[in-house]
Symmetry: C2
Subunit: 242 residues, 2 copies
């Protein structure tokens, strides 16, 4: 039976990949992925065959992976972060229905939420909600509802895709919605280029975050009512008495 | 300057650790942790000094780590999964205020949410909320509010600590709350002992989940309104047309 590994390679630098992910990449014949992610791993697996497709060609990329596997090759489809968090594992399993003879194994990785949290300190120690601000495939009303409900219940919130050229004011809109329930002084953090060259973190308040321009390589964290700024790091207490 | 690494070792099996985490463990003098987690890594780092404290002695464990570092040793404090998701990185940074001369570096790992998701298929592909059902340090009313708000906003929900001896009916209570907004036919999944001996997954409906007894080593996933059972795997679509 042919096999496809859907592999989360982690935030970027090679060391942040799990050993299981690296072993899957070593054992495969072909590595398929979005051009940018393939470039991140290429030097470590130079002897492999690489196939890439551009952004927004996700369906083509999955079909390419299944076609290669159908030839009898072992294939690894790589995703940044975790393959199962806004990644390709879902679409691979959906399209995989057409290829019942090909086994799909998902290999988890460190997603931007936990990778970025480690850079900031410990913002995600308690219950949190992960929300993508991209309305490419999700109606904005649904995103709005999730921002409001998560804020009302005092979740820590982590935002993926906080900005793009077309959506330059979405983070500001999101901050306004969250401030319906969260204090403007809520401790927040941003991490840019997690685990890559130029990694950069900042801790600020929610009202300061509202005025900030972030790029599409930034992950944004909004604390709960207990989150603190401890010496420039963002820390959400679990509740231990010390 | 003395240094403490707070290291997420992933779900359990050695291979699921990141290379960065393994390198930190290789480079340290002492490994500190909860007995069960220390046993998971011991054979791979046999030459190290190990110090353990039992469950519920988290503050003692952190202080032990700082005391060892204050002696000039490089210390690794290990946590299962990710150190920043219901892990020790928060408490370490809180207690670290008393030890300004000791640097704390957090190293992320694969948490049970993403590790378990990979076993089930792809339940966390879209916006999700992570909620612990443990009311040891969080009032039950707050947990209830989070379950209701997350369900109302159609988040995929992942539950940590779904059960214990004293809390045998908490998952049932949580299911009843979620069913105020989610259909009883919502696709759900459970994963027991992720990445360890006896790993076991099941996919079912929310009304079936309500009748299930799970143990404290189980992570529970409740889909959103779009989540599907594809050949026994739990898959949340991102929204791609294929």
């Amino acid at each position: 039976m042919s096999k496809i590994y859907v592999v989360g390679i982690g935030p970027g630098e090679y060391e942040q990949m799990t050993m299981r992910a690296a072993n899957a990449l070593k054992s495969c014949d072909v590595i398929v992925g979005y051009t940018v992610y393939v470039d991140l791993v290429k030097e470590h697996f130079a002897e492999k065959e690489f196939l890439t497709t551009p952004m927004r060609k996700e369906v083509d990329r999955c079909e390419l992976a299944f076609e290669e596997a159908a030839k009898g090759k072992t294939v690894a489809m790589i995703c940044s972060g975790d393959a199962g968090v806004y990644g390709m594992s879902g679409l691979m399993l959906e399209i995989g229905q057409r290829y019942p003879q090909i086994e799909v194994e998902v290999i988890p990785g460190v997603t931007a939420a936990t990778g970025g949290a480690a850079v900031l300190g410990a913002p995600l120690i308690h219950d949190f909600a992960l929300i993508s601000l991209s309305d490419l495939m999700t109606p904005w009303e649904k995103i709005e509802k999730r921002l409001l409900c998560a804020s009302e219940a005092d979740f820590v919130i982590c935002l993926y895709n906080p900005s793009s050229k077309k959506r330059h004011d979405y983070l500001q809109k999101a901050c306004d919605l969250m401030m319906q329930h969260k204090s403007p002084d809520t401790v927040c953090g941003t991490v840019q280029s997690i685990g890559r060259e130029g990694e950069h973190m900042e801790v600020m308040t929610l009202k300061e975050l509202r005025e900030k321009q972030v790029d599409m390589f930034t992950t944004v964290f909004i604390g709960n009512s207990q989150t603190k700024n401890i010496g420039g790091r963002m820390v959400t207490p679990r509740g231990y008495q010390y």
